[in-house]
């Protein structure tokens, strides 16, 4: 089974426009140059895979797009809103209203059940899904009242995805969502992300160091040493099940 090829000819409107991003941060006693001039546009409903070895700057880029971090130089706009000059409060509101995050280590609140972890988000946004609905979407309707410690890694990550999509975000940002999972579980998680992108039309960016994942993207950007090494469109978009690991 294969998805119909997307039309590369008609570019949709830009959701994100990043220009000349650089980022330097200190880690302990070392100074790290994470981004060295990255420019990138991300379009409506696009499924982007950010590929690159660890330390290539992909997490930093994702954090900046998600309003978790600000660049040292350069600009990012989200639908025309400048994120670079926004203050802490504006960034918080931006994340709250528009962004869904999925992290490599799930970052669920261990003291809350699956349902409660999702409710954490639905509680603070307007027009959310019901937590049960979001968990249904990731096929976890039967695990509503389990605590994270009672769930497998894949299930935890799917709770995280449900938590990210329950607010009906405009963009879904996933940082190594399958990094801590085995292949079979990873596929389940990627299917959930793919489903959200297709059914809700959520603009999605997935970070991975696993080149195989790039097969399911509309577009693949490769980062290397803080720079964009390549930017290509897939003529054929595979379903997660078809990926060759």
């Amino acid at each position: 089974m294969s998805s119909p090829p997307s039309a590369p000819s008609a570019p949709k409107p830009s959701v994100f426009a990043a220009r000349d991003l650089t980022k330097v941060y200190r880690m302990g006693e070392v100074e790290v140059q994470a981004l060295r001039g990255v420019s990138l546009d991300l379009h409506e409903s696009e499924f982007l895979v950010l590929l690159g070895p660890s330390g290539s700057g992909k997490s930093t880029l994702l954090n900046i797009l998600g309003g978790l971090d600000v660049p040292t130089a350069g600009t990012v706009t989200y639908r025309g809103q400048n994120l670079t000059s926004a203050d802490e409060r504006a960034l918080t509101m931006y994340r709250r209203r528009h962004v869904g995050f999925v992290f490599q280590f799930y970052n669920l609140i261990p003291s809350l059940t699956a349902r409660e972890n999702v409710a954490l988000v639905t509680d603070i946004v307007e027009r959310p899904m019901r937590p049960e609905e979001a968990l249904e979407l990731v096929n976890l309707a039967h695990r509503l009242d389990h605590f994270p410690s009672q769930l497998s890694g894949g299930e935890q990550q799917r709770v995280a995805i449900a938590r990210a999509v329950a607010k009906r975000p405009d963009v879904l940002l996933c940082d190594e969502p399958t990094g801590a999972l085995d292949i079979a579980t990873g596929v389940l998680v990627l299917q959930a992300i793919d489903q959200v992108n297709r059914e809700l039309g959520t603009t999605t960016a997935v970070i991975t160091h696993n080149a195989a994942v790039s097969g399911m993207a509309d577009r693949v950007v490769t980062l290397s040493d803080g720079r964009i090494a390549s930017d290509r469109r897939n003529s054929v978009k595979l379903s997660p099940a078809e990926l060759q690991w």
């Binding site: 995050f101 970052n107 954490l120």
Partner: protein, 789 residues
């Protein structure tokens, strides 16, 4: 009600922390309980006092004099600012109580039977008011009646103007004038040896040749009247009648003691809880900061999901407030219970018609407010950290902690230290600030233990100084009127008297600029063998041939130093007024005293070999015979025995201080356990991963316990000397706060108290160690290693 998911997290976090949260709540509750106990007792006493004063028309100004005709009373009533005046005859006599070989004193107060006194009315607990036509019917004060088991229908003998008279008791009474009744010249009340009697004024006046006159006056002021003005006019009016100086209510003996006690309750009730709540805030700070660092990834995720800094700050503040609220509630309940108990104790000590416990809403509110304040203060640092945590950074694992070789290793001792010992030392050295705060917490609890118990040491020294170093006499005899040297010879010849020294005491107002005090100036032989003048540091003092020797407190009150001159207005006899130099100052623990060499005082008074009393040393074998004889000597007005004074002092101490000390101790133990237990739990939570790794590598439970508990031991060992020193410093501060005209407590902390404080902390540390050891034994190796931290 729907609980928001973030609040669910809060409740579950709290449940995980329950041991530590409970320990901190206990510390807070101890502080709040003390606050509530002291302040509610204060308010209960204050309310009772005010109501009592008003209902029973307690006077505003009191004046004693030698004798004045009744027309002086009318002139006093006409003084501007005076509302009501009442004159009485008040006489102190020796009582003859059948089953008491030692003499007791009585104060006879004349009342205008059958009318009730216009001022300073009596409350009749039992029996009835004396009836007209029965001059020997009396009311007796409740304290004395209880101590001597006297009831209406009983009778008691009194030496009235040299003649023994039988007084028949018809009622038991209380008066706002004698809520606290103390024998003249003494510092501690002794209900068994001092009784107040209200009786027919006319009969009393006749017995003491006061018919148509009076020797005591009290008055109330009109609203807005100036008390100093009225007192000045009254003093001028009464001077020709031998006025001893009018006293405002604030210096009236009973009121003054009661007020002192109230002031002490209030200041202790404010100061002690603050110390406890600061310790609680410190503990909360440690625990919450730890939670925030454990939850840094959760916080980052919540921020990524769109939670604001303010929401997260409030989240952690609420955790702290919940712990504070639990402490506040527990403390309020416990404090109210203790407050009602303490009020009951005061009911035995002070005599009120009714003393009901009253817990005002503002005290409860204050208690809850301070517990919240402590909780907020404790949350501040952690909340700031949570808010400041940059979310992107918190996603990344923390860089590994930086370790260094410890000081001992760098000193070349590495060779002698086993790896676990090195780990202990490097851990303490890695986070010196953390180790220092733990040491500070334990040291604070040790200091609280000392603060709670050192009063016993202090009182011991005070007792020894007062009753063994200063007062070496067995008996002090006061005469009705100043007598000649011949009476000293008479006293010397009494059975059992081994030695006697004269006393010439005279009431006088000492004045320096605007400051003045009425005291009894004591004329003593230059180098007394019996009642000595002793400086607490310098030892026995030889009285100079001229000038006054003042106790340090009196010199401070008058603001005079050695070589300066005070005006001495004698309030007796020919009432000379003289400028007298201050020849010396001695530091004493009790009261405010002025001394003079007896010869110099007699010259100042223009008298020969007069004396007003004598100090006696007595052969114990013949003491009973002597006491019997003293009771029957007409010129003897009062006899006080050192043994009884020591006993009543100890009884008073037992009643008040032991209760306070017991509670202080209880609370200090709570604090030390809370601090040590928390320190142990925190290091367990920080190190469990590392310790589990060691277990996997083959270390035994005992060995890993050694590493964890070794740190605790290092903290406790470092904290003990610091805590002992801190305790001494705090004790010094408390002693300074208790410096009143009544007492100055010596700053003494005995080795026994130090040992006690150290022992309690060691026990608390051992118990905490055991609790943590049990947790270590149950450490789930696999689960701990799987967690990413």
């Amino acid at each position: 009600m729907v609980i928001r998911p973030l609040d669910r997290k809060l409740l579950r976090d709290l449940w995980t922390l329950k041991g530590q949260a409970f320990a901190i709540s206990l510390v807070i509750s101890a502080g709040v309980a003390m606050f509530i106990m002291y302040l509610s007792t204060f308010h209960s006493l204050r309310l009772t006092q005010e109501t009592y004063y008003e209902r029973y028309r307690f006077g505003h100004v009191f004046a004693a004099l030698t004798r004045a005709p009744m027309n002086v009373l009318e002139r006093a009533a006409d003084l501007p600012g005076v509302a009501r005046v009442e004159a009485r005859v008040v006489v102190d006599v020796t009582l003859d109580v059948p089953d008491l070989t030692e003499p007791a004193s009585g104060r006879l107060i004349g009342i205008d039977v059958p009318a009730r006194p216009m001022l300073n009315d009596v409350f009749i607990r039992r029996g009835r008011f004396p009836a007209l036509g029965h001059p020997d019917e009396v009311l007796v004060s409740e304290g004395f009646a209880l101590a001597r088991d006297l009831h209406p229908g009983d009778s008691i003998g009194a030496m009235i103007n040299g003649r023994r008279r039988e007084l028949s008791i018809v009622g038991i009474a209380l008066s706002p004038e004698y809520i606290y009744s103390i024998r003249p010249g003494e510092l501690i009340p002794d209900d068994s040896r001092f009784g107040i009697f209200w009786m027919h004024g006319r009969g009393l006046a006749a017995a003491f040749n006061m018919e148509g006159g009076f020797n005591h006056l009290s008055l109330t002021l009109l609203p807005g009247a100036s008390e100093p003005d009225v007192i000045a006019r009254l003093d001028r009016l009464l001077a020709p009648s031998g006025g001893l100086g009018a006293l405002p209510r604030s210096l009236q003996t009973s009121h003054w003691y009661l007020d002192n006690e109230l002031a002490q309750l209030q200041s202790v009730g404010l100061v002690l809880p603050i110390v406890f709540l600061l310790v609680a805030a410190f503990l909360l700070n440690v625990v919450l900061t730890r939670i925030v660092s454990v939850q840094r990834e959760q916080i980052a995720a919540l921020k990524a999901l769109g939670y604001t800094n303010r929401e997260l700050a409030w989240h952690y503040t609420k955790l702290s407030l919940l712990i504070g609220a639990a402490g506040g509630v527990l403390g309020t309940v416990f404090g109210a219970w203790m407050g009602s108990g303490m009020t009951a104790i005061y009911n035995d000590f002070f005599r009120f018609p009714i003393l009901t416990y009253n817990l005002p809403a503002n005290v409860v509110f204050g208690g809850v407010a301070v517990s919240f304040a402590a909780a907020t203060l404790g949350a501040l640092n952690a909340v700031r950290r949570a808010a400041a945590l940059p979310p992107a950074e918190a996603m990344r694992p923390e860089p590994p902690a930086r370790y260094r070789h410890s000081l001992l290793e760098r000193a070349g001792l590495a060779h002698y230290l086993s790896p676990p010992v090195r780990m202990i030392l490097r851990n303490v050295g890695r986070q010196p600030a953390r180790a220092a705060t733990a040491v500070a917490g334990v040291a604070a609890s040790i200091s609280m233990l000392i603060l709670g118990t050192f009063f016993l040491d202090s009182i011991g020294v005070l007792l020894d100084q007062q009753f063994f170093v200063i007062q070496r006499q067995d008996v002090t005899v006061n005469f009705v009127l100043p007598a000649s040297a011949r009476s000293l010879h008479e006293v010397r010849r009494l059975p059992g008297v081994i030695g006697a020294e004269p006393l010439r005491a005279v009431p006088a107002r000492l004045r320096s600029a605007q400051r003045s005090r009425i005291v009894s100036v004591q004329g003593l032989v230059a180098e007394p063998e019996l009642n000595r003048v002793v400086d607490v540091t310098g030892g026995a003092v030889r009285l100079p041939p001229g000038g006054l020797v003042l106790s340090l407190k009196l010199a401070e009150v008058l603001a005079v130093g050695v070589g300066e001159v005070v005006t001495m207005e004698v309030l007796d006899g020919r009432r000379p007024v003289r400028e007298v130099p201050v020849a010396g100052i001695v530091e004493e623990y009790m009261g405010t005293s002025a001394y003079m060499e007896i010869g110099a005082l007699r010259r100042l008074l223009g008298e020969g070999d007069s004396l007003s009393g004598a100090f006696l040393r007595v052969d114990p074998a013949e003491a009973d015979v002597l006491y019997q004889r003293l009771k029957g000597i007409p010129f003897v007005a009062g006899v006080s025995l050192k043994r009884s004074a020591v006993e009543s002092f100890q009884r008073t101490i037992a009643e008040t201080f032991y209760v306070m000390i017991f509670f202080n101790l209880l609370f200090s133990s709570v604090i030390s356990f809370g601090v040590v237990y928390n320190a142990a739990r925190i290091s367990l939570s920080e190190r469990s991963r590392e310790l589990a790794s060691l277990r996997v590598l083959g270390f035994t439970r005992g060995e890993i316990s050694l590493i964890l508990l070794g740190e605790l031991a290092v903290v406790v060992v470092l904290a003990i000397p610091i805590g002992l020193l801190l305790g001494y410093i705090f004790a010094g501060a408390l002693v300074a706060a208790f410096n009143t005209e009544l007492y100055r407590f010596p700053l003494v902390v005995t080795p026994r108290t130090y040992a006690y404080a150290a022992t309690v902390v060691l026990i608390a540390a051992s118990l905490s160690g055991l609790a943590v050891r049990r947790r270590l034994d149950r450490l789930d190796l696999v689960a701990v290693l799987k967690t990413r931290e």
